[in-house]
């Protein structure tokens, strides 16, 4: 780790101001950023800790029946408090990492980081959620722009994420054996007007929607409908020591089938 300064604002306004200084970076739960700092792979001059900002924490039902989760809300809180409203999403949160990770890591940090194998991007994209920042609202379909890349501007803070609640949903996660991040995971959300299927862990371009599955499931929400599809092309899928592109492409189909089977 290199030396850095730290600020601990208690309002979004102060945090935004603090982030304006040269070399400043937001710190959420730190479960991505701190390991990066420890191995000296990043050298921010100043960290602006978001953990003291109460206005970006918590889970509540919005007036428009969307589930609103503060950008600084931990995975553990979502797992516990979203369960009654949006069980599929709560389950996703409950499957992230281990208790230490869930008690510190935040939804805002996860989305801002947009790791190609992270869980939240799948839930967010499949839900057609809206990412709210200190400056604007961004639709999930516009937010994720490839591995570790998002629509966020420098110093922009995710303050809230608004999730439309599907009739049925499920998150099927195949574990990468070492990190226990998804090797490939699929979030399926069935809405009255159609089905959305988002895949994480598989593609070199990060989270994506599997259009063929969405079309098939929108007319017939059954595992048989998935079985009838061929797996997406292996081209562009991640290949590493844990799985070939072909295997990941295959898993997309298997996990989609399982998500549909278990959707509730």
């Amino acid at each position: 780790m290199y030396a850095f300064e730290i600020e601990t604002p208690s309002t979004v306004q102060d945090a935004v101001a603090a982030l304006k200084s040269e070399g400043a970076q937001a710190l959420g739960g730190g479960h991505t950023l701190i390991p990066t700092l420890k191995s000296r792979l990043a050298a921010p001059e100043k960290l602006v800790a978001l953990s003291g900002i109460d206005e970006i924490k918590g889970v509540r039902m919005g007036d428009d029946s969307r589930l609103c989760i503060g950008g600084g809300t931990t995975h553990a809180t979502v797992a516990a408090e979203a369960a009654g409203h949006y069980p599929g999403l709560a389950r996703l949160a409950s499957l992230i990492g281990d208790p230490a990770v869930r008690n510190r890591g935040t939804i805002g940090g996860s989305l801002a980081n947009n790791d190609p194998s992270a869980c939240y991007p799948a839930g967010t994209l499949a839900s057609g959620a809206t990412i709210v920042t200190n400056a604007r609202e961004i639709a999930a379909d516009d937010f994720f722009q490839g591995m570790f890349t998002t629509a966020l501007d420098e110093g922009e803070i995710i303050t809230e994420v608004k999730f439309p609640i599907p009739e049925k949903s499920f998150y099927a996660k195949m574990l990468q054996p070492a990190s226990r991040f998804p090797l490939t995971a699929v979030f399926v959300a069935k809405f009255a007007d159609g089905v959305r299927v988002a895949v994480t862990g598989a593609s070199e371009s990060g989270v994506f929607r599997w259009a063929e599955a969405e079309a098939a499931l929108s007319s017939d929400f059954s595992k048989a409908a998935v079985d009838a599809l061929s797996a997406p092309p292996a081209d562009g899928m991640i290949g590493d020591i844990h799985g070939t592109p072909e295997y990941r492409a295959h898993l997309v189909k298997v996990m989609t089938g399982r998500a549909v089977e278990n959707a509730a």
């Binding site: 195949m174 054996p177 070492a178 990190s179 090797l183 590493d240 020591i241 070939t244 898993l251």
Partner: protein, 790 residues
């Protein structure tokens, strides 16, 4: 008989301090005036050092001194402890292993400079300021290619990447070939024994100290064998005589072999402390541990088993490429040879066996002993090829093994690979296994799995290992550069308590609990009256340390011998006081009694008399009660057993789950069954890790792809089942006083083939009959890929 003696399942007394955070590990040692060291490590696998500029680093705040290889020009090479002679009788190629790389860097992590500074952060900052020009060379990674490639050498000065080409037993070569050529059936299997990273919970640490007033050096280090480190580092590297060098290995948080070896960092801190006349501390980061701890296994093997038409084994031939990494680590050369070739007979009567091993230098971190060391590699290939042979010949895998077992009345059994097994009963452990694993119920469990869409498979195998390492005269003939005896000093205090100073080292084995149980039984006192001192060359007799499941069999035997001397002397004292002949004195339940009388004295009366010799035969007996014994075993010990694993394979994803695991082991006599079970559990956990999860991967450029827990998969609690273990089959070792064989490595040796056999069985039962082998780890991706081919 007091409670808690031999055979008692006593809880480990040392766990109280380990579990309450009161352990004292090397990193807990902080000396006055201590400085901190950070190594500058190569980021390329192979490169020529053109220049190293330390001037910027030296000028950084807090920097005391920056060292490079040139500072070690007068210092010796890190030695290899075992010289192998090749098939032609020529000695192995043995390149220099400098403390800091000179001329070339040879693996990612090879240190070519080191910064010593006031704080660790300052040292780390300055280490980044060391400027080196390193001309990158192509990396030597593929062992098979490396052997014939003379144009790209890891060590230019030795002219080859082949360390040795070893034949064992060379005289068996022809006869084995003939038997294979003429056999009714030959089963061939090519396999990889995957490279593993040890991952001890405590990373390595070394603190060097130097006392100018008496020219005395001290090294505190995470070691399994402080005396060995003192000998190797003192005599071969730094030229410090033993009386001027103390090595302390306090509580050590796991080793699994990786802390046997003498590492360059130990020599560095000891040397640097003397140079700067201040203590120097190095604490490995976890990333450094991945890169620089000696790795394990890494064999590429082709094995052939010849059988007659009834499945009797006729001959066995195995050809292995064994990765040495970039330098020869302390015991690296012995692992694929004498710890591997000697075990190829397994539990079976195979008349002809020939083993060929080519040890190869590559641009990877050195490879050396890791829990089991050579024996897992032997067991895996043998038990896999037997399983394949059984399938090819349509013989039940248990039956084919039984047909070839060495029978209980055939011991001692001389194998064709040098070793002679003293005792065993392989039918008994197999019978026990069938019972405890409930193999009769398998079909029902398989059907239940199938109903849930899972393919269930059963894998069974045997293992034998050579432990209690080792007769010094024998290993001397085989090239060991050390003896492998063990020592103990037993000191009885005036009030009757005992302290055992042992050359064995405990880093998770539970010696502090088990050793006192032995003495408690011998004297008839409570084990709480005995304490163990270990880990410090200043207060323990010269010992060879702990590895190869040798502590109880060899170290414990030394302790028994010393305690026998104590008892003999104590009887003389008792005889004097009780006015009887010492021949007539009996010691039982802590009481010395004159045979056939009610005249007796308590243990404490006699120990007091030894130190307050008022009524004492001073003319014929020295006062005091302290004895030392060295014990050199006359043979290896041969623990053996039979293991069964059931797995469930998800046919859609290839995910393997261990459904059950049972182990029937014969460890001879058992001192503490609770500790033994724990050792077996841990060993099986590591074996399951190897079979399903763990894998050190270097890419073609020699970059370590599995350099953190994000990519190196360690087994977790959820990956392992509740084990069923049994050690009631006991054929006591015939040549050590305790009749014990050793249990520390069995689990890691015996379990990988059981897991793989089970997965192959599951796939066959699921109709994937084309799959004859999958290389470890059997990750979902690999299992799925195997199922796709047809």
């Amino acid at each position: 008989m007091p409670d808690g003696g031999i055979g008692a399942p006593t809880k480990r007394r040392e766990d109280l301090r380990f579990l309450t955070g009161k352990g004292r590990y090397t990193d807990d040692i902080n000396l006055r005036g201590q400085s901190y060291c950070v190594f500058v490590r190569s980021q390329v696998a192979h490169g020529r050092i053109v220049s190293i500029d330390t001037s910027k680093a030296a000028a950084m705040p807090g920097v005391i001194q920056v060292f490079t290889g040139d500072d070690f020009a007068e210092v010796g090479s890190i030695p290899c402890g075992w010289q192998i002679h090749d098939r032609k009788g020529e000695p192995m190629l043995e390149p220099a292993h400098p403390v800091l790389a000179r001329g070339k860097v040879r693996y990612v992590g090879d240190a070519y400079a080191a910064v010593v500074a006031e704080t660790e952060a300052q040292a780390r900052d300055a280490a980044e300021a060391v400027e080196a020009e390193i001309e990158e060379l192509p990396a030597v990674i593929d062992m098979v290619k490396a052997v014939s490639d003379k144009s790209n050498l890891v060590h230019d000065e030795i002219g080859s990447n082949l360390c040795y080409d070893w034949g064992f037993v060379e005289e068996n070569r022809e006869a084995t070939a003939k038997a294979i050529d003429e056999a009714y059936h030959v089963t061939t299997l090519e396999l990889v024994n995957n490279r593993l990273i040890p991952n001890a919970m405590e990373p390595r640490v070394a603190v060097g100290d130097y006392d100018e007033t008496n020219d005395h050096s001290t090294l505190h280090t995470t070691s399994q064998n402080p005396h060995v480190i003192r000998l190797l580092m003192g005599a071969f590297v730094l030229g410090i005589p033993e009386h001027k060098l103390r090595v302390v290995a306090p509580d050590v948080g796991g080793g699994f072999g990786s802390k046997i070896f003498h590492y360059a960092e130990e020599a560095f801190v000891t040397f640097a402390a003397k140079q700067i006349k201040r203590p120097v501390k190095w604490t490995s980061t976890r990333s450094e541990a991945f890169m620089t701890d000696a790795h394990g296994r890494d064999h590429v093997t082709k094995i052939e088993l010849a059988l007659d038409n009834e499945g009797h084994f006729l001959a066995l031939r195995t050809n292995t490429y064994a990765n040495m990494g970039a330098y020869l680590s302390t015991f690296s050369t012995s692992v694929p040879t004498y710890l591997h070739g000697t075990l190829m007979a397994g539990n079976y009567k195979t008349p002809h066996i020939y083993v060929n091993v080519k040890a190869v230098f590559t641009n990877t971190v050195p490879v050396d002993a890791y829990r089991g060391a050579g024996r897992p590699e032997a067991t895996f290939q043998l038990e896999r090829v037997i399983d394949k042979a059984a399938r090819e010949m349509g013989i039940d895998p248990i039956e084919i093994r039984r047909r070839n077992f060495i029978q209980p009345d055939e011991f001692p059994y001389q194998t064709p690979v040098a070793v002679s097994y003293d005792t065993g009963n392989y039918q008994a452990t197999m019978d026990k296994l069938i019972e405890i694993a409930d193999l009769d119920g398998f079909e029902e469990r398989r059907a239940a799995s199938a109903a849930r869409g899972k393919l269930r498979g059963l894998g069974v195998n045997c293992y034998i290992e050579a432990c209690g390492i080792a007769p010094s005269n024998l290993v001397g003939q085989l090239g060991a550069r050390a003896g492998l005896y063990e020592s103990a000093t037993v000191r009885v205090n005036a009030t009757g308590g005992l302290v055992v100073m042992t050359g064995s080292h405990s880093h998770g084995q539970g010696h502090e609990t088990a050793f006192p149980q032995v003495i408690a039984s011998m004297i008839g006192i409570d084990p709480s009256m005995v304490e163990i001192v270990h880990g410090d060359t200043a207060n323990t007799p010269m010992g060879m340390g702990t590895y190869g499941s040798r502590s109880l069999a060899v170290g414990g035997s030394a302790m028994v011998k010393a305690t026998e001397k104590i008892i003999a002397k104590a009887k003389k004292i008792a005889a004097h006081i009780l006015e009887a002949s010492d021949q007539d004195i009996e010691l039982k339940d802590g009481m010395f009694t004159v045979k056939g009388t009610d005249k007796s004295k308590a243990w404490g009366d006699i120990t007091l008399a030894a130190y307050v010799p008022h009524n004492y035969p001073l003319e014929s007996l020295e006062p005091g009660l302290e004895e030392t014994a060295f014990y050199d075993p006359s043979n290896f010990t041969y623990p053996a057993g039979a293991y069964a694993c059931e797995v469930e394979v998800d046919p859609e994803t290839g995910q393997v789950e261990i459904a059950s695991f049972a182990a029937a082991d014969d460890f001879g006599n058992i001192i503490n069954p609770l500790i033994v079970s724990g050792q077996v559990h841990g060993g099986i956990g590591q074996g399951i890790g190897q079979a399903l999860l763990e894998q050190a991967v270097y890419d073609d450029n020699g970059q370590l792809l599995s350099g953190s827990y994000m990519d190196y998969a360690m087994p977790r609690a959820s990956d392992v089942p509740s084990y069923v273990v049994d050690h009631s089959c006991q054929t006591p070792c015939t040549h050590n006083p305790l009749g014990v064989k050793g249990c520390g490595e069995a689990g890691a040796i015996g379990s990988p083939p059981a897991v793989v056999n089970a997965v192959i069985d599951a796939l066959h039962r699921g109709g994937h009959t084309h799959v004859s082998h999958i290389n470890m780890p059997l990750s979902p991706s690999r299992v799925w890929a195997a199922m796709q081919k047809s």
